[in-house]
């Protein structure tokens, strides 16, 4: 006999077989709970990040924050939440268009808000949206009071004028992103059924409420949270760390192989090509970064491929190092670490070996095919640097003849945009340029936001294509980026001392298109599947790829860039699996210069098995963790000190709330704040 009619489930059986306490742990989502709560699965939270002096992001109470849902679709709706509504606290469901700084500051000051859910706006807001700073990475670049003070703090050029700095504010309530329009509709339906005032009268209980769980463990700043974590690890048997440093790995590869375990000859010269591979947005692990990162590193990869195809490349007088920096969004984590390693002699290449530097900043939104060449005005005053910079620019302009790219120098007195090159300049004056599609402020109207997607770089596919066809379809964006890659490859060949005809050096638009598809739309495609190692099934997913540095080692983006670079610049060698996985077993001086990877290969069209093979490449990984954590200088103003808080439980759900219990329980749980 069953007392009340619930959904029959195996949970009833578990309940009987085990004792109540055990089963209630295993029996998540028992039938009664499913009657009461609707979990929201496709959400992204806003988490707390800390640096040397501040905490940014959002925080919820230990047992989640609850509030009566109110949908704000136009600015007037906010009045109900802030002053008129009789059932505070409210949980606001905000349309993406209204997610602006003014509104957020209004909400921040109110005690009647217990949380916020933002519905992603499709299409992207027409006026642009950037939660980043107006002056990204200010204070960690090269311009300071000692070096080009007129350029410091964006006094000369504001790079990101649309930046509202929301991502760098500290909110005391949780904010979630609703990624699925269906879930947003469910919430709005619940609101319309229960919370709408009928004919001017106050809505009656039961009301539709939402609960957001996103309790963050770290507080104040990095110094405090790292001190607490180190105390825990030193003295506790079961350490409860509260924050982790943002860290990952940089990917680098050289055109001519070098021995990565020893230093290169001091007279050898290396040209460094650099791009960043990460991005950020207001919400955790939402970082599509199409224009700010992906387009740039895809162009870089295409240029590397084009260069490796040149036959006399191993005889070039200078070497070229292709570097992909991780963590540049957070005060140049990757590049500052590499410069530190070079200074401390922990890297095969020293600062003195660097002949010149070429960086690809945001290159996808070129206005009438112009690509701007940015240089550093302060170092150019040096008589030895200036001619080298001019040679660099000349090589670039020569290489653009015949291609649909017009290279133009920006004014000589304009500073460098935020770029990894600035960290190298901090250590030593090196001739270098930064290529970008913007002359003064960014062309990217969605810099470091959730709207910096494939649509932002104008990637359009025709309707009705299968995933395989979409993978191979060459978009206009891909063609444009391939042209930039061609120009870069030709210029690098000349700079490295190559004397042959450069017209044969061409980047492959089809390869660029495949990479753009893989890094912006779906990583689980047949090409990526064929170039990765065998046991890394979890690497490729079906959801949109995100490029956030995170705190775990080797995020998907870093690994994929590593495998793509190995595939594009490496050669297939005829080794067995044993020889490939253990190259030190068969000693050969050649083998120390290379890295061998056993990849799973593509699938035979008729069978389900793959044909794996061994790839010999010069792709290496090097740690991208801020030197501040190596040196334990957690309050450093010299190096990046960004950390991410730890948390236990992040989820969201909606349900009906029956009566004044809401206020009592909210009062009890938020005893510090608002009773």
């Amino acid at each position: 006999k069953l007392t009340v009619r619930g959904e029959p489930s195996g949970c009833d059986l578990l309940f009987i077989l085990n004792f109540v306490p055990f089963s209630s742990g295993f029996c998540w989502g028992n039938s009664v709970e499913r009657k009461i709560y609707i979990p929201l699965n496709k959400t992204a939270p806003c988490v707390r990040l800390l640096n040397a002096t501040h905490q940014i992001g959002c925080q919820s109470s230990m047992n989640g924050d609850t509030g009566v849902i109110h949908v704000v679709e136009k600015a007037q709706d906010l009045k109900w939440v802030l002053t008129d509504g009789p059932h505070p606290p409210y949980m606001v469901l905000l349309e993406g268009e209204l997610f602006t700084r003014e509104l957020m500051l209004q909400l921040k000051g109110s005690s009647r808000i217990s949380g916020l859910a933002v519905a992603i706006s499709k299409p992207s807001p027409a006026q642009g949206f950037s939660p980043g700073l107006k002056c990204p990475n200010d204070g960690f670049g090269v311009y300071s009071n000692d070096y080009g003070p007129q350029y410091a703090h964006c006094n000369w050029t504001v790079w990101n004028p649309l930046g509202n700095g929301l991502a760098y504010e500290d909110f005391s309530f949780p904010i979630f992103l609703l990624e699925d329009a269906n879930e947003t509709q469910v919430i709005k339906q619940c609101y319309q059924d229960h919370n709408l005032p009928q004919n001017g009268s106050v809505p009656e209980y039961p009301l539709c409420a939402m609960q957001l769980f996103a309790h963050m463990h770290a507080v104040t700043n990095t110094v405090t949270c790292m001190r607490r974590s180190s105390l825990q690890t030193a003295f506790s048997l079961n350490p409860e760390e509260v924050c982790d440093a943002l860290s990952d790995y940089n990917v680098w590869s050289t055109l001519k192989p070098i021995n990565a375990s020893s230093k290169i000859n001091p007279v050898d010269e290396v040209i460094i090509v650099a791009t960043r591979i990460d991005s950020h947005s207001f919400f955790w692990n939402v970082a599509p970064g199409a224009e700010s990162a992906v387009a740039s590193f895809v162009t870089h990869l295409a240029a590397a491929e084009a260069l490796h195809k040149v036959p006399d490349v191993q005889m070039l007088p200078r070497n070229i190092m292709f570097t992909f920096f991780q963590g540049e969004t957070f005060d140049y984590i990757g590049s500052s670490r590499m410069v530190y390693d070079m200074k401390m002699d922990k890297f095969p290449i020293r600062l003195d070996n660097i002949h010149s530097f070429l960086e690809l900043s945001q290159v996808a939104l070129r206005n009438s095919s112009v690509l701007w060449v940015h240089t550093d005005p302060v170092s150019r005053r040096n008589e030895s640097i200036q001619p080298q910079v001019e040679t660099l620019v000349e090589a670039l302009i020569n290489s653009s003849v015949g291609a649909n790219v017009t290279l133009q120098e920006v004014g000589q007195s304009q500073p460098l945009p935020p770029s990894s090159f600035q960290r190298f300049l901090r250590a030593k004056s090196i001739p270098g340029v930064v290529l970008a599609d913007h002359r003064t402020s960014f062309q990217n109207r969605y810099y470091q936001s959730m709207y910096d997607t494939a649509e932002n770089i104008l990637m359009k596919y025709p309707e009705g294509l299968s995933p395989e066809e979409t993978l191979d379809y060459v978009t206009d964006t891909a063609k444009s980026l391939a042209e930039v890659a061609t120009v870069v490859a030709r210029a690098l060949y000349q700079l490295a001392g190559g004397t042959g005809n450069t017209s044969a050096i061409q980047a492959d638009p089809r390869m660029v298109s495949r990479m753009l598809y893989g890094f912006l739309i779906k990583t689980n495609n047949s090409w990526f599947q064929s170039i990765i190692k065998q046991d890394l099934k979890g690497l490729l997913g079906d959801e949109l790829p995100q490029h956030y540095i995170a705190v775990t080692s080797l995020v998907n983006t870093t690994q994929l860039v590593q495998y793509v670079l190995a595939n594009l610049t490496g050669t297939v060698v005829n080794f067995t699996k044993e020889e490939c996985l253990n190259p030190e077993k068969t000693p050969n001086p050649e083998k120390e210069m290379y890295v061998y990877t056993w990849v799973q290969g593509s699938r035979d069209p008729n069978s389900t098995s793959r044909v794996p093979f061994c790839v010999q490449s010069t792709v290496h990984l090097t740690k991208a963790a801020s030197p501040a954590f190596e040196l334990k200088q957690w309050g450093s103003t010299e190096y990046s000190t960004w950390t991410e808080s730890r948390w236990k439980d992040i989820r969201a759900r909606i349900f009906l709330i029956a009566s004044k219990e809401l206020e009592v329980s909210w009062c009890v749980s938020n005893n510090r704040r608002r009773c």
Binding site: K1, L2, T3, V4, R5, E7, P8, G10, D12, L13, F15, I16, L17, V20, S24, N30, S31, V32, E33, K35, I36, Y37, I38, T66, C190, P206, C208, A209, Q211, R653, I654, F655, L656, I657, A658, S659, E661, L662, V664, S665
Partner: protein
């Protein structure tokens, strides 16, 4: 709906039962043992009937709502029948146990009468049945949400508690009638017990029309209560004497707690 609802519902459902236990069972160790054994028997019957239902659902294996409901009806009927079978089995076990206890103990009278056994076993069945129907609902009543987002009635917790309040005494009454009928070999009485049990369980399928399921259940509980009262040897005279505190046997018995 938080702590208030949790406490309210648990006391609605288990208050009378708790009082019964404290007043009549707590002082007598033998009754306590038989109470818990009775609960265990009910538990085993539920386990077996759930197994059967679970296997049937896996074999049937359809996601159709009406098919699922049919399986549920089958499960409920089978469970009721199995519970009554186990009640009979418990009766048989208790008879044997009594004989055994008599040979082991020094005294000449049976340590516990069949009437008391029937009451205790019915209470054991009822308590276990009540716990199982309500504990899942009680744990969720502690949370902030109340039922209703999918269209359920907001009185979900309260009506479940009231239903349990009816079921527990019903088990007691059924136990008394059943054992008495088995003693006196009146086989129509257990049949009526089974029928009324089926009826009450069937009424729960009328939920969420709680007036359709709760009111008839309470009426049946009253009727069964009266029947059990008269079966147990009660009469209007006894009742009057008891209420006016003049029943000498009762007063004497109360001075020697065992």
């Amino acid at each position: 709906m938080t702590t208030a609802v949790f406490i309210g519902c648990s006391f609605i459902a288990f208050g009378p039962v708790l009082a019964l236990c404290v007043c009549t069972i707590a002082a007598e160790p033998l009754s306590l043992v038989f109470l818990i054994t009775g609960g265990f028997f009910w538990l085993v019957s539920l386990l077996l009937s759930s197994l059967v239902w679970f296997i049937a659902v896996q074999i049937g294996g359809s996601n159709n709502a009406s098919v699922k409901k049919n399986f549920l009806i089958f499960g409920v009927v089978f469970s009721v029948l199995l519970q009554e079978v186990f009640r009979f089995a418990y009766y048989k076990l208790l008879k044997k146990a009594n004989k055994g206890l008599m040979t082991v103990s020094q005294e000449e009278t049976i340590p516990i009468s069949v009437r008391q056994l029937s009451y205790v076993s019915g209470l054991g069945f009822g308590i276990m049945s009540g716990i199982f129907s309500l504990v899942n609902i009680l744990t969720d009543s502690l949370g902030l949400g109340s039922a209703g987002i999918y269209g359920d009635s907001p009185q979900y917790f309260l009506s479940s508690a009231f239903m349990t309040l009816a079921i527990v005494p019903l088990h007691v009454f059924w136990g008394i009638v059943f054992f008495d009928a088995c003693e006196k070999k009146k086989w129509w009485a257990p049949a009526l017990v089974i029928l009324s049990h089926l009826l009450v369980s069937g009424l729960t399928f009328l939920n969420p029309q709680y007036d359709g399921s709760l009111v008839p259940s309470y009426i049946i509980m009253m009727l069964m209560g009266t029947w059990a009262f008269f079966t147990a040897g009660g009469s209007l005279r006894n009742l009057k004497l008891c209420l006016m505190c003049r029943d000498k046997d009762f007063l004497l018995a109360n001075q020697h707690p065992r």
